[in-house]
Each structure stands twice: as C-alpha cells, then as structure tokens.
Subunit: 343 residues, 2 copies
Amino acid sequence: MSVQPQRAARPTLEDVAERAGVSRATASRVLNSSPRVSPEAHEAVTAAVLELGYTPNHAARSLVTRRTDAVAVVFSEPEPKIFDDPHFGQLIRAAARALSSADVQMVLMLVHSPDDQARAERFLAGGHVDGALLFAPHKGDQLPSIARKLPLPVVYAGRPWGPLRGLHLVDNDNIGGSVLATEHLMSLGRKRIVSVTGTVDEFSSIDRVEGWRTAVGADEAMTELMTESGNFNRDGGKLAMAALLKRVPDLDAVFVASDLMAAGALDALREAGRRVPEDVAVVGFDDHPLIAPHTEPPLTTIKQDANEQVAHMVAHLLRLLRDEPVRARREVLPTILVRRQST
Amino acid sequence: MSVQPQRAARPTLEDVAERAGVSRATASRVLNSSPRVSPEAHEAVTAAVLELGYTPNHAARSLVTRRTDAVAVVFSEPEPKIFDDPHFGQLIRAAARALSSADVQMVLMLVHSPDDQARAERFLAGGHVDGALLFAPHKGDQLPSIARKLPLPVVYAGRPWGPLRGLHLVDNDNIGGSVLATEHLMSLGRKRIVSVTGTVDEFSSIDRVEGWRTAVGADEAMTELMTESGNFNRDGGKLAMAALLKRVPDLDAVFVASDLMAAGALDALREAGRRVPEDVAVVGFDDHPLIAPHTEPPLTTIKQDANEQVAHMVAHLLRLLRDEPVRARREVLPTILVRRQST
DNA sequence: AGACCCTGTGGGAGCGCTCCCGTGGACGGG
DNA sequence: CCCGTCCACGGGAGCGCTCCCACAGGGTCT
C-alpha cells in the first residue's frame, strides 16, 4: 500500500557511485583498480566506500565474471582413520593461511563415502570454485580420475595413482628422505638394517621402501625378508617390529616409515629387551611434533614440511588461475634428517 | 563478424526449460521442489536436467535469494600453537561432515593475527556466508564482540568471554566432567587430590578447576596450594606436577585438566619415583585417542565428544538459518569417565 | 447458471555487478 | 585554426536465477 523508505539494506555500487558523484561504471573501475581513472574520481569513490561501509556483492560479481574467488581443498580418504592423523591438521592450517592471505575463500571438503564422492564431483563440476587442491593418496580412489576430467585447475598433493600426464603436483622427496635415513644408519656402522613400511596403497609408502631398498642394495628376496608393513598405525608398527625381530634376530637398525609406527616399534623393542640406540638404532619419518620428541628415547626422523608443501601447492594453483606460466608441472620438495637420541 | 554457434557453455535454466517444454519459472519450481507443479512437468524437467547435465548457477541464485548456502567455521587462536592440537583436526572433520551432509559449503577461516581478524570481520560482514561457527575460547579475543554486532547467526563453541546474553552456544560439561573425575578419585579412597590446571584465559580450564574445587571442597587458600597451571602443554604438565610434588609431598591423586598435560605429569611422577596408580592415581581430560590409551600406564580420563559438540553446533545453526525455533540458546553436553590403568 | 476458489503455468522484472561501446573534451601537430 | 588522437567517463545490456503477478481452466458451492 504505502511506500516504505527501506533503509538499512546493504549499500550497492550504485549508492557508492551516487555519493561519489560518478557513474556506476567508474566506481566499478576504481574497485577493480583499472588504470583509466582520474585521481579525483579514485579518491571520491574510495571515500564513499569507506563512509557507506560498502562491500561488493560477491554473488553479483561472480555472476558476470564467472569467477568465484574460492578454491576447494579436498581430502579423500576411503576409510576414515579412527585416530585422527595430526598431519591432516597441519595441512589444513597451512592451506588456510596460504589461501586467505591471497584473499581466496577456502572451501573444505572431506570425502569418505561414495556419497561424499558424488557430492564432491557435483560440487567441483558445478562451478562453485575456481580450482582445487586434492589430497588423494590411496590406490583405487576414483576422485583423481574424476577430477582430471573436470575443466578445473587441480593441484595434487603427492603422486596420485593413475597416469600422471598433464597433472600438476607437489610431492615430498620420500625416496630421498628414506635414502637419507638409511645412509645415516649405515654411516653409524649398522649392518643389518630392516624397515617397517606403510601401506602398499600409497606412493609415499612405496617410495619410502624404495629409498631403503636402493640404499641397502636389497634384491627382492632380501626385501621380502627384511621389511614388514605396519599399516601406518601404532599397533601395526609394534607388530611389524616384533615380526622382524623374530625373522631377523641379528638386526641392528630399523627405518620406520612413519613416526607413529616408530613409536610402536620402540614399544616392541623395549618388550624384546633390545636397547635403543645401543642394540638397535631407529629412524622414523615425518618429524611429528607430538610424537618424535616424546618417544623413549626421542626419535631421529626425517622431516617433511607440510607447510612448505601446501604453500607450494597454493602458489602453483594461483599461478594456474591467473594463467601465469608455471615452472614445472611437478615439484618435489626436499626432506631432511632430524637427529635425536634413537640413533 | 560472423555469428558463432557458441556451444559447450554450461546449460542454463532456460535451456532446461526449453528442452522440457516448459517455462523457466516452472523449471525453477521443480528445482526448488515447490509443491505447485504437475507430475508431468516435474518429470520432464528432471529428465532435461539429467540429459543436459545441468547444475544451477550458484552466484545467480545467491544474487536473488540473498542466501549463500555457505557457513564460515572460524578458529580464533591469538597465539597459533606451534604443536598442532589434534583436537582441532577432530573439530574440523566433524564440522565438514555435518555441514556437507546438509549441502552447505564450509568456508574455513583460521584467525591468528590482527590482520586475519580484520579479514575475518570483512568477510563475515560482507555477506559471503549465511552464518558462522565460532571457536574463540581465549580471553581478550576481540572476535566474539565483533561477531555479536554482525547481522549474522553465530553459534559459539564453549563459552566465549564477555556477556553471554543472546548468544547461541554449545558447551561441554567441563564442570560436571571434573567433578566426575575428582569424585572417582575420592571413591578410590584418595585423600590428597591435587590438580594440574590449564590456562586461566579459557573457560574450559576455569570450569575444570571449579569442578575439582567443589568436589574436594577447597577454599581459596587450599586451591592456591593444591593446584598449578600446566598451560595446556606437555612440558607444562610435567613442571606443574613436579611443583605440586614439592608443595604437597603426601599427595595421592591428581586431576589433570588435559591428556597432553597428564602425559607430562606422568613423566614427572615417574622421575620422582612415584608409582601410578599405586602411589598416585591420575585422571586426565579429553580422552585424546593419540595420547590417553598410549601413556604409561594408559590414562583414565574424561571424554568430551568433539563430534557431538560440532554436530550440535551445526544443527543449531541450521535451525537458526531456517528460522526454526531452537530449544535453548545454550546447550551443555555431558562428559563421561573413561577408566584405564592410571587409577 | 453464475460466482467463486484453487491449481498449474508463463511473462517479466530485477537482484548487483562488469564490460562493451559511444561520447565529449583536452591536447598536439600540420 | 582545424582535424585527429587519446583519455576519462556514462549509458546500457546482460550474466542466470527467483518470485510476483496475471491468467486460463476445471471444479464446487450457492
């Protein structure tokens, strides 16, 4: 019936333009820092923005630019680990930091079930984000092959399964790290170096066996004898170590493919009455802050820097989004040895 | 010059409507499951959507509905912890699960610096999300007072500092849990029960002291004597326990306000030659899966369910977003005792 | 039989923004 | 002095969607 004045609505670009005494087009130019704007107009618009507390309507902008200024961060983990991997928290933290300082929204997706996967596919295909960071290390995970069909820039963490052609990825030097670990043990004069390995469905694990194998120069039979999988968990590490002790009674060193498993391995060694590092030297992998410094004895381990990896992934993706050239599709980050008392 | 056919663009609702032989309005009704649609139209539109692989343009929809179908999850932590708290990972996981199953995008924000805070404020005020979950336990954190001025539904994790009037929050029963812990120790016949507390700038910590205090019936002087802060980290827990052993040599039990500190406390007790649980019984708090079962001896502790808390927060927020009534502004979730070998 | 409602549908406006294109004025060179 | 060039700026279309409103058609009630 009666015409209401309607205030308190968020100011639009139109309001800003009016207040600044310019057209909407010019105001828009200022907001997008176009060069073709006079200093006066620039100042007037900037002032109006401040006075009105104007914030651009993201949806409207997105509608016409066809950009979203959002990036998906996808963790695909077929069987959700019951005990949360704290590495995960580090990765998320790093991603949040790197993306938000680039003023890009981070949309987090955790994919476990086929349901989740379908949802993720719909979401990524739906144009809700400009690009994605994909953490999908496990063999048989469909998500990488789904993702590579999408018209969407994707940067992978580590090597996914399947063909690598055309993929952009940032990996840690797992092979180099495990060579480092094993050579460290050899330099200590250790002769019988066994290894507790992770799960065979992740390249990070496969690479760590490979590093050990080349360093000690093991053939297939010897590898079979001197390695045992600990499934990347603590109890698994303990069981694997116990099995190795039985199979290779004269072992004097062990390279364990994760700190968590190494903690379990230390338990097994203690129960078997072997002293660490006197009888058996132990090297882990990860340099997990919650574990490595606190085992008994504190753990010598290989540090891989989650922050660094994610920062590289984000930088890589941002370059792709801006159509800037990338140096290489695949980056491999160095790993270093952190020495503590277990060697 | 010449007119290009222009294909391969994403289909619009117009395309769907045309294919289904209905108007755009009807197609829209089907997509938004309006009741006023004939079965025939419904079927035709559904088929067309499938055939064309249509996905609604989120920006366009958001522009008119003024909803974003996104929710911010904000963690505010004035001093970013160097050692990642794994509790954090659990919370994020739970939030991701709960939100994605409601088909709401989760935008994660980690706030450390004043810079981050300003960004967060701009973001939340900018209408980029429909609501927020806010984790800001620390005293002096500005974010809660900023957030409560925003015209945006916010659900808090735990009690933030400042006035609670009008706030929506989901808290764990820290007081109840610590009463439980302390009474458990008393029921074991322990007479001199001390407590290692957290930091005084978090209510969760304050409440846990309060629970201990009421259960043992301590006055101020006794509280001063028999409690010591461990700053919620492992080394702090060890130092605090050592201090308490010196101050109260005849102590026979300790309630430690976090599992991580409890691990440190166990170290201190071991070094002091006190047996656990024979000489000193120990109860922790959190039931941290990476810590509690693996201490020496395994830790009796109070379980607070992160999944449950976040699920309640999400449900609460969704109700607010849908303008549905909420039962209570404030929910307090129960905590339970998990008994292991340290008592 | 006329007046009524109720249900399914389509036309069209408009959300707030960007960007194309046209215009007017300042400026420099022939 | 006039014409061409260039730069700052405004008008207006249109991105893809929702929702208001009008309307046709069939049923129900007086």
